[in-house]
Symmetry: none
C-alpha cells in the first residue's frame, strides 16, 4: 500500500476520519445485505487496516459513526428549518424525511442493523455519549416543531419524532423483511390482496401523514 499523505493537523485528520466513513458508507450502499469487514472498508478508503483503528476504536464504533452521520444530516436540516423564519408544514417534514432517511440507500439498512449489533459490542461510555448527542438533537428539533404546530404541548414534538422514526424503521423492515424480491413477486402475482398492495415509500407517506395530522390537530394524542 502506498503511503498516502499523512494527516498531521487536526483538519487533515478530520478529512481522513470522514474518508473512512465515506468508504464504509459506499460499501454499505453498494451491498446493503451485508456488513463490510474492516479490511474492505480500509481498502475502499485506500488505507491499511491498521489505519482504520487509528481513527475508530472498533468496527462497531465505526458503524455507529456512519449511522450517526446519517441521522445528523437529517436533524441538522430539520433544526435549520424549524428554527428558521419560514413556515413549516407537515409536507416539509415528510419531504425532509424522504430526502435524508428514505432515499439514501444505506440509511435504513444500517439503522436496522445497528440494533443488536451495537447493544452488545459498544462500550457503555460510547453508547451513553451517543445517546446524549442524539438527545440534544431530538430535543432541539422537538422544541422547534412545537413552535410551528401550536396545538402541540411540551414534549409532543419529541414524541412525534419518536413515533415517526418508529414508523420509518418498522415499515421499512416489514417491506425489506424476508426477501424483498419475494414481496414484489407476490405483489405482482396475487395482485388483489391488500396485504401485498403497498410499497414502502407510499405507505410511509400515508402513515406519517396520518400520524402528524392526528397529532397536530386540535385534540392531540396524549403525550
Amino acid at each position: 500500500m502506498v503511503i498516502r499523505q499523512r494527516a498531521i493537523q487536526a483538519g487533515e485528520k478530520q478529512v481522513r476520519h470522514d474518508a473512512i466513513l465515506d468508504a464504509a458508507e459506499r460499501l454499505l450502499a453498494r451491498s446493503p445485505e451485508r456488513v463490510a469487514n474492516v479490511a474492505e472498508v480500509a481498502d475502499e478508503a485506500g488505507l491499511a487496516k491498521g489505519t482504520v483503528y487509528l481513527y475508530f476504536t472498533s468496527k462497531e464504533e465505526l458503524l455507529l459513526a456512519v449511522h450517526e452521520r446519517g441521522i445528523d444530516g437529517f436533524f441538522r436540516e430539520v433544526i435549520a428549518r424549524v428554527e428558521g423564519d419560514g413556515p413549516v408544514g407537515i409536507d416539509d417534514m415528510i419531504r425532509l424525511t424522504h430526502h435524508h432517511l428514505v432515499e439514501p440507500p444505506l440509511f435504513l439498512p444500517l439503522a436496522s442493523r445497528c440494533f443488536g449489533l451495537m447493544s452488545h459490542s459498544v462500550p457503555a461510555e460510547s453508547a451513553i455519549a451517543f445517546k446524549q448527542r442524539m438527545a440534544a438533537r431530538l430535543e432541539r428539533a422537538g422544541a422547534g416543531i412545537e413552535r410551528h404546530f401550536p396545538h402541540l404541548s411540551h414534549g409532543d414534538g419529541v414524541a412525534l419524532l419518536r413515533r415517526s422514526y418508529a414508523l420509518i424503521l418498522g415499515l421499512w423492515q416489514m417491506s425489506a423483511d424476508v426477501a424483498g424480491e419475494a414481496h414484489c413477486a407476490l405483489a405482482g402475482a396475487g395482485g388483489v390482496s391488500p396485504v401485498f398492495a403497498w410499497n414502502y415509500p407510499d405507505e410511509l407517506d400515508r402513515a406519517l401523514r396520518a400520524l402528524w395530522q392526528g397529532s397536530v390537530a386540535a385534540a392531540p394524542a396524549a403525550r
Copy 2:
C-alpha cells in the same frame, strides 16, 4: 447423547420439530441479547446437532420458524376474536398485542433479529412460502377487524395491522437501541428531558391507541 426413539411417523416428526422450536425459544427467552448457536439449541432439545438439520434446512429457517410461531399465536387469537360473536374494541386489540408480542421476552428481540439475518440467507422459496402464510393470516385478521369498525373500508384493516406492527417493532428498537441500560441511566439522571421520559410499554400503548383511534374514526387516514 442418548439415542432417542426415532421419529418414524409423521406425528412423531411433528413432535420433534416442535421440540426443537421449543428449545430455541427457551434459549432465546433465557438470554435475549444473543442468538444461540445450533449446538446449544440441539443440546437444549436433547438432540444432536445433526438432527436439527433433519428438521430445518438451516439455522435461519429455524429462527424464522420460531418467529412465525410467535406471530401465529397472536394472529390465531386475533382471528378468533374478530371472527367470534362478541364485540371487539381498541382496548381488546391492544391487550392482545401486549399479551402475545410485548410480554413474551423473546418475540421482539427475535423479530428484530429476523431482518438482515434472513433477508439474504433464506432461499427465495421459503421466503415466499412464509410470506404467503403470513398474508393469509393478515388478510383474515384485517377483514375481521373491518367488520368490527364500520368506518374502515376494504384494506384498511390490513393497513392498520401493518402500521401497528411497525410501531411495535420500531418503538421497541428505539428503546432497546444502543445499550438500553444507558437509556435508563440517562432517564434517571437528566430527568426533565422528554427525550428520555418514556418507557416502551406505555409509549407503545399511547401510540397504538392514537393510531387506532385516528383510523377507526369517521374520517380515517387515507388507506
Copy 3:
C-alpha cells in the same frame, strides 16, 4: 482437507488427542525458537484448525499438555525406578534426567516458554488441576527417593527434585541465552576464559551431581 477416520470411541479420541500433541511436539522440536500457531499444528497433524479446538480448549492448553506429557514421561520412569526393587543411585537419577528432559530437543525450550505464556492465559481451574497432577507425581517421586537415600528426611526428596529442576532449567536458559551460536563462537575464539569453557550437558551433570551428593550425604542441607 480429506475427512479422516472419525474418532468415535474413547480410545480413538485418545489417539487423535495424542496425534495433535505429537504434531505440536514435532513442530516445537523442528524449530525450537518459535511457538507454532494453531494452524500449523493442525496442518502437521493432518487435521483442520477447528478439530484442534475439539480436543483442546485453547492454544495455551495444548502447549501445557505437550509440556505435561514430557514431564510425565520423566516422572513415570523415576517413580517406577524408586518404587521398584532394585537399588537406585545418583547416577541413575542423572541418567533419567538426561534421557527425558535434556535429550529430547523440545522439552527445555517448551518448559522455558511455558512460564509467562501460561501464567496469564490459562484459566485458573486448568492451572490448579495441572499443579495438582504435578504435585501428586512429585510427592510420589520424592517419597520414593527418600526411601533410597536414608539420610534424607521427610520432604527432602521433593526439595531435591525441585532444586534439580531449577538447575536443569536455569542452566539451560543460560546456555541457550542470547544467541547460543554466539556462545559457541566465543567459546572457540577466546578459548581460555572459564566463562565460556562449559557446555550445557556436562555442566548440568556436574551441578546435579554436586547437588545430590551434598544433599544425600550424612549432613544434608536444611530442607
Copy 4:
C-alpha cells in the same frame, strides 16, 4: 507531544538513552506480568514512538539493555566487595543476590522473558557484544570470589556464580509457574504436602547456602 530539547551532545544522548531504559523499567516493575509495548515505553519516557528507535535498534535490544543494566548493578557491587579489602562470606553474597536480583520486582520476570524472546530476534553481533561484556564481569567477579574462598581453584568462582544464577532463575520460574495464585491456594488448602510447602525467597536462600557451602568447603565439586 511536546517537542523536547534535542539531544545533540553525547552526554545528552546518554541521558535520553537512560530515560528510555528507566521508563521501560518502571513499566516492567509496575506490571510484571506483561511486556509493555513500544508505544507505552515511549509514552512513559515522554517521547514519541519513533524516538525510541533512534536509541535502540529494536524492542528486543531495548529489553536486553534493561536486563543488562539490572545485572550490571549486581555485578558492580559484587566486584566492589570481592575486590575490596574487607572479608566476604557466603551471607554477604546471598544478601547481595537478594538485594539486586530478588527484591527488585522487575528483574526476574524480565530475565525469564529474555530467553526465547531474544534468542532469535537479537542480531548475532549484539548478542556477542552482550555476552562479552557479561563475560568480563563474570570473570572479574569469579576471580574475586576465588580469592576470598581459598578452597576454590581457578574457574570455580565463575561456575559457582553460574549455578547460583541457574538456581535463582530456575526456582523463581517454578514458583511463578502456572498461575502463582493457584500455588498459594493449594498451599493453603492441602497444607501438609511438601510439594507446596515452600516459598521462593526462603527456598532460594537454603538452596544457595547449600550450594555455596558445598562448593567452598575443602572438597569442592569438580569444576
